[in-house]
């Protein structure tokens, strides 16, 4: 219940309101009325069961990238590399999934997702180790890892993994028995349940377990944590590895649930939107869930609004970017700056 108290709700709503104001400016500048566009977006996101399913489809990848980012933020590590983990996880799952033709579906799904999880973990391992062992600033390195991962994936696909007879760079299709089962047509799969289960596990873990306590203390006040005997380096590395694993699994779920192969443009920035999700949700499980639904709703509604009116889908990007900017504003005078 405490999450609903005004004191905690207001800071989470402020960035949304500020972003809606920015979006309203853009709409007004081109002669559209935000008071008709925003309710339309709301209706297109939640209007009927089909629309809710579409919103949850768009929410699913953000549950993973949001959680991946939140875990590290909670430990005081500024990991902005979920995009790279998501992409590599998606690629590994697609490759393994396409080759497990002889196995029964559930087993193939498990193995393919395990490969994605491993790939995501690998992407986070080096920056995590550098930060944990040597206190190397992780922000720019994890940002760079995203681009390196994208380039690496592009190279692997075009050089070795290219499907035959496909014009653009894409891996072969994963056979249908390894696709994630559909919960609700058109395309809502059990992927959303995996994401929600992870978030529920995260909530319990962070609140009731010893490692969860150590993670919170490390993020809250590392010196105090060290004085208590917490090995903060280990905690930071663990947070980074878990983050990479979650991001990679998210990519795997996106492969087996939605795309069924790895193609160029596999992730339209899910990792970066995940940062906004984590910030908006204040790194809590419930917050991340609501944040992911919020951005998922905007992108699914934006797509249909574009179809049926002359409001371009890009308005969703405007809102996403503005939320990110305003979610980190502390609305109080401060000058510490990441260098």
């Amino acid at each position: 219940m405490s999450a609903l108290l005004p004191g905690r709700l207001l800071p989470a709503l402020a960035p949304i309101l500020a972003a809606l104001a920015v979006g309203a400016l853009v709409l007004l500048a081109t002669g559209d009325n935000p008071l008709t566009v925003y309710p339309l977006l709301l209706r297109e996101a939640f209007g009927d069961l089909d629309r809710i399913a579409a919103t949850l489809v768009a929410t699913t990848p953000l549950l993973f990238t949001g959680l991946a980012t939140a875990v590290t933020f909670r430990a005081g590590v500024f990991n902005v590399g979920a995009e790279g983990g998501f992409v590599l996880g998606g690629l590994a799952t697609a490759v393994v999934g396409a080759h497990l033709t002889g196995l029964p579906g559930p087993l193939a799904i498990l193995l393919a997702l395990a490969a994605g999880t491993a790939a995501g973990t690998a992407a986070a391992a080096v920056p995590g180790w550098l930060r944990a062992r040597w206190e190397v600033n992780e922000v720019v390195i994890t940002l760079m890892v995203n681009f390196i991962a994208l380039g690496l994936a592009g190279w692997l696909v075009t050089s070795f993994l290219q499907a035959e007879g496909v014009a653009n760079s894409a891996t072969p299709l994963v056979p249908p028995q390894a696709w994630l089962p559909v919960l609700l047509p058109p395309g809502l799969t059990v992927g959303v349940l995996i994401g929600l289960a992870l978030l529920a596990g995260y909530a319990g873990w962070i609140r009731y377990s010893v490692p969860g306590y150590e993670l919170r203390m490390t993020g809250h006040n590392p010196e105090f944590a060290r004085a208590q005997g917490i090995r903060t380096g280990k905690v930071v590395l663990a947070a980074m590895l878990v983050s990479g694993a979650v991001a990679g699994l998210g990519g795997g779920v996106h492969t087996l649930g939605v795309v069924h192969r790895f193609v160029e443009g596999f992730s339209p920035g899910y990792g970066f939107t995940g940062i906004a999700v984590a910030l908006l949700g204040r790194n809590g499980a419930l917050g991340v869930t609501l944040g992911a639904v919020f951005f998922g709703a905007m992108s699914s509604a934006g797509a249909t609004v574009q179809l049926f009116s002359d409001i371009p889908l890009d308005i969703v990007q405007v809102l996403t970017g503005a939320v990110m900017i305003f979610a980190v504003a502390r609305w109080a005078r401060s000058l510490d700056v990441t260098r």
Binding site: M144, A276, Q317, T320, R333, R339
Partner: protein, 299 residues
């Protein structure tokens, strides 16, 4: 062969050098500017529109500079006044600007992606009559656009300003520690905002070079990571103007080479990641070295 490779490397160098110099000034002022990508995109669009409207390239460059300065200041305010994390603000800003650009294109011009501006006046090429025929040297200095020369001029000028003037000293003081700078009576926050304004301005002019100097149109994907390459360049050059400009030349060379020797596309992907890899390695090595120094001092 070598000459044409050199020529295209220099053409690609200009926007990188302009944006990286802006980012370098900003970083010395204490802010890592992740928004260079967005500034470049905004500058490219403003330049294309203004150049078309006024039928003169100079109007385009001026519009880009004004747009970039305004947006640079706007991006700075949440960081300096509201204590927002500059990395997240920059990432959000890039998404926001890309969204606004795409929105305006489909809403006002009813196109998606590519905007051809009627009457767009491209940057002129300045041919130097005598030198043009000298081998190698001719390619190096003749047939360049005015923004190339601006970038060339900017490198030593910024170097001198940073090292030998009051403004440079104040900028470095504001960047090194806002609290200390303020106790010395310096308006640290305003100085930081000023450095962001300059970064926005230079990156937007870099964007103008892309739309007016290279392709003669606007495309929503035309910046294609150059803002991040510029970021990589000033990290690699450790915020010093000459090494940063040299890093830009290195990355522009990769880019030109990759376009030329493209074989099936696979190797091109790897070559594109090199700047990012280089920066990650440089940061890791310097970070480890610093960490060792710290422990030695403590022990």
């Amino acid at each position: 062969m070598i000459e044409s490779l050199l020529a295209s490397a220099l053409l690609l160098w200009t926007p990188l050098a302009l944006a990286a110099t802006g980012g370098l000034i900003n970083r010395i002022g204490g802010i890592v500017n992740i928004g260079l990508e967005g500034h470049m995109l905004a500058g490219a669009l403003a330049a294309a529109l203004a150049s078309g409207a006024a039928s003169h390239w100079l109007a385009g460059v001026a519009a880009a500079a004004a747009t970039g300065a305004g947006l640079g200041l706007l991006m700075s305010l949440p960081i300096t006044r509201l204590g927002a994390n500059p990395i997240v603000v920059g990432l959000g800003y890039n998404i926001l600007i890309a969204g606004v650009a795409g929105y305006l294109l489909s809403k006002l011009f009813e196109v998606s992606g590519t905007l051809r501006v009627p009457g767009l006046d491209p940057l002129p090429r300045l041919d130097l009559p005598l030198v043009a025929d000298v081998p190698v040297l001719g390619v190096l200095v003749s047939g360049k656009d005015p923004l190339f020369w601006l970038a060339v001029l900017l490198v030593p000028v910024v170097g001198l300003l940073l090292r030998h003037t009051r403004a440079g000293l104040r900028l470095r003081a504001a960047g090194a520690g806002a609290r200390t700078a303020r106790s010395l009576g310096l308006p640290a926050t305003r100085i930081r905002d000023g450095s962001s304004l300059l970064a926005g301005l230079l990156a937007a002019v870099a964007g103008a070079q892309l739309s007016l100097g290279q392709v003669g149109l606007f495309h929503t994907e035309m910046v294609a990571g150059r803002g991040f390459i510029a970021l990589a360049a000033f990290y690699f050059g450790r915020s010093r103007p000459w090494p940063t400009a040299a890093a830009c030349l290195l990355f522009a060379g990769f880019d030109a080479g990759q376009a030329r020797f493209q074989t099936g596309g696979g190797a091109a992907h790897l070559l594109q990641t090199l700047p990012y890899l280089v920066v990650a390695v440089v940061l890791a090595v310097t970070g480890i070295r610093e960490s060792r120094r710290r422990t030695r001092r403590a022990g």
